[in-house]
Amino acid sequence: MALDSKMNRVFKVVGTRPPRPDGVEKVTGRAMYGADATAPGMLVGRILRSPHAHAIIKSIDVSAAEALKGVKAVVTAADFGVPDDLSIRDVQDNCMAQGKALYHGHAVAAVAANTAAIASQALKLIKVRYEVLPHVTDVDEAMRPGAPIVQEGRALENVAAGFSENVTSQCEFGHGDLEVGFAKADKVIERSFTTAATHQGYIEPHACLASMSPDGKGDLWCCTQGQFQVRTLCAEIMGMDASQLRVTASEIGGGFGGKTTVFIEPVALALSRKSGRPVKIVMTRDEVFKATGPTVSSSMDVKIGMTNDGRITAAQAQLRYQGGAFPCGTVEMGAQSAFACYNLDAVHTVGWNVLTNRPKEAAYRAPGAPMAIYAVESVVDELCQELGLDPLDVRLKNASTKGTKSSYGPTFDDIGLRATLEAAKAHPHCSAPLGPNQGRGLSCGFWFNFGGNTCVSLNINTDGTVGITEGNPDIGGSRAAISQMAAEELGVPYDKVRTIIADTNSLGYNDVTDGSRVTFSVGLATIEAARNAIKVMCGRVAKIWGIDEDAVIWEDGCAKPSGANAGDFTPMSIEEIAAISSNTGGPIAGHFEVNADGAGVSFGVHLADVEVDPETGATKILRYTVFQDAGKAVHPDYVEGQMQGGAVQGIGWALNEEYIYGKDGLLQNAGFLDYRVPVASDLPNIETVILEIPNPGHPYGVRGVGETPIVPPLATLSNAVARAIGIRLFELPMSPPKLLKAIRQKG
């Protein structure tokens, strides 16, 4: 599935901006999201959650709740089995506490009742006896010997001695000789950073409707980034065959990685099985913050050496991430991505994952990378300030390029970092004047992007229009891009193609919508499925014309003779071929199944101008520009949308968003009032510049774009603030109280 050899292909549909197929239903309120479905006889499910950060569950007495009129089922961990797979067991134990409440908000029981009011009342009647244990929520504290142990026996074989049992894994990457490298540097800066946990902040809370029938079959409707992943997890947890559980993905009101797992779905299924009725569970916003999957919080040390003329000679980082009460692998991705933007002779990163009494981490756009790259880009910027060097020139001098041995091992092929840096350097933003208390910052960013398991079925309808069935929930406009690629390949107008997202019964396995993989993998599979359908159609026409199959070519939506030698035949359009398909062999379709590889990494650079108010510590963003390599922008509006949306999430992360835990281990700000995401009045327009350095691994050169844009804003803003007020903070968020304190301390 390599890049098409016809490199200078002139695209007709790809690269244009047609309307998305789900647009009308979304602007009219007709689109069906997770909480919008109902079923006859439906019960309302509610979950009882631990008020303690860490406690043994001594007993749960549900008798009074079960006896309440209108309650049809109550479940606890006792209603679930023990999955063989340890990671699925962790998911289950997170959905319903097994023996211990591991964080404030951890589910301990659930009820299903005729009405929400009765369900809420029933929760109050459940008697849980807790033995409260000491808790730990800070990553560094949790690592120290003597810290309260969140789970025993979870440390892997690769963890060095000397840490508490909360340290579950250790990883290390890099190459070269650091000692030699640092010796060559004219200036070495070493800094420590901390970042708080943040939440994806999707506006739609998790919601699902589960319907189990007495014959063991189940139907599950839920908002998810991956209905097949949901099926795998729930079938395993419920002890069902995959074929018996049909999961349908609703339209999704935001995911960003946070809806790639399950929280309420197994509970709803268990309640449905027990009650014999459909059960709907919708999380409150409070529950979303307390008991879904925020990011890790981090504590990091970065040391970089640079020569007077701006060459980085050595770079080192130590990353300590906490991902909540269950082990997670995010620090590995942080450790690999930290220095990915740089061509280095000597580089070394070490990472540790630590358990704490906090909710189980889930992915959030480029998981692990934003905090690591924030730390690295801050130190690089500080070195530039100390040495009096231009930050863009220093990036250009050290940028990874084709042939660079990356900090995580493989050698890069064609990549777009230099192009984005050069575009930034040439942009008017770079030279716009700045006033008092104003500063400009920049940062690079990177993400791996993934391929993965993908199935597409492409059917030629009898009127010549095209139906595409794919398995990946659309979180950014991918249905439009998929239709565009099919229209391009088939040579038909965009509006003759309709793409839908199938339930788990209708296609083979599809990996979740994550890793910026959909436009890349589903696109690639769609192109191949279209080529298969074309092959079938050419075969039919060859028979009609009585010539060899390879004498028939496809062009502009028609089958044509390949040349004068093939014969003098009038081209047959897709409509004509489709109309007689029953005569020529039956319905015409193409399909493609693949575990796609060859996803192209995506680099980006952000520039921001800020003004810091010295009296309030508030940071105003004056101007923001995003430069990113998209490989090939199939639908430029949606590529821009990813760049803008990701940038704004990163802005929130840098300036305001954080999980605040009290000394009691309880989450203090579980709502949008005190977990402050960016609002329209906080921001200027976000300008976007798309670069296109084709990915050699995709027929049209597509690279994933969704995740990279959340990476640069953290350091972009930190660097801008540092230059605006001459004070550099080493923690995020740089909320007004923190900036004000720093300003006052300075003087």
Binding site: L156, E157, N158, Q170, C171, E172, F173, G174, H175, Q200, F256, G257, G258, T260, G329, E332, M333, Q336, H348, V350, A362, A363, Y364, R365, A366, P367, Y408, G409, P410, T411, F412, D413, W447, F448, N449, F450, G451, G452, D514, G515, S516, R517, N595, D597, G598, A599, G697, E707
Partner: protein, 81 residues
């Protein structure tokens, strides 16, 4: 024979070697041979690894062919968001 680069934290299982040589023609053979010749690698391999072949990352593909001149880098199994 294929040269495989091992990432930092796994090198304790290969006596500190950054690069090891194994006889393998595809990803599955590579993993099987590594696990046999360096038993300390087995737990990580069982948990899951990715393979970067000439710069391209393969997450699971057993039958990916590896040539003797290929750059092969063992990497952790990756997830996104």
């Amino acid at each position: 024979m294929v040269k495989v680069t091992i990432w930092g934290s796994l090198r304790s299982a290969t006596d500190g070697q950054v690069e090891v040589e194994v006889d393998a023609r595809n990803f599955k053979e590579l993993l099987d041979r590594l696990a046999t010749e360096y038993p300390g690698l087995k737990p990580q391999i069982e948990r899951g690894v990715s393979l970067a072949l000439d710069g391209k990352i393969y997450r699971e593909a057993w039958f990916t062919e590896i040539g003797p001149k290929s750059e092969v880098v063992l990497m952790p199994y990756m997830t996104g968001g």
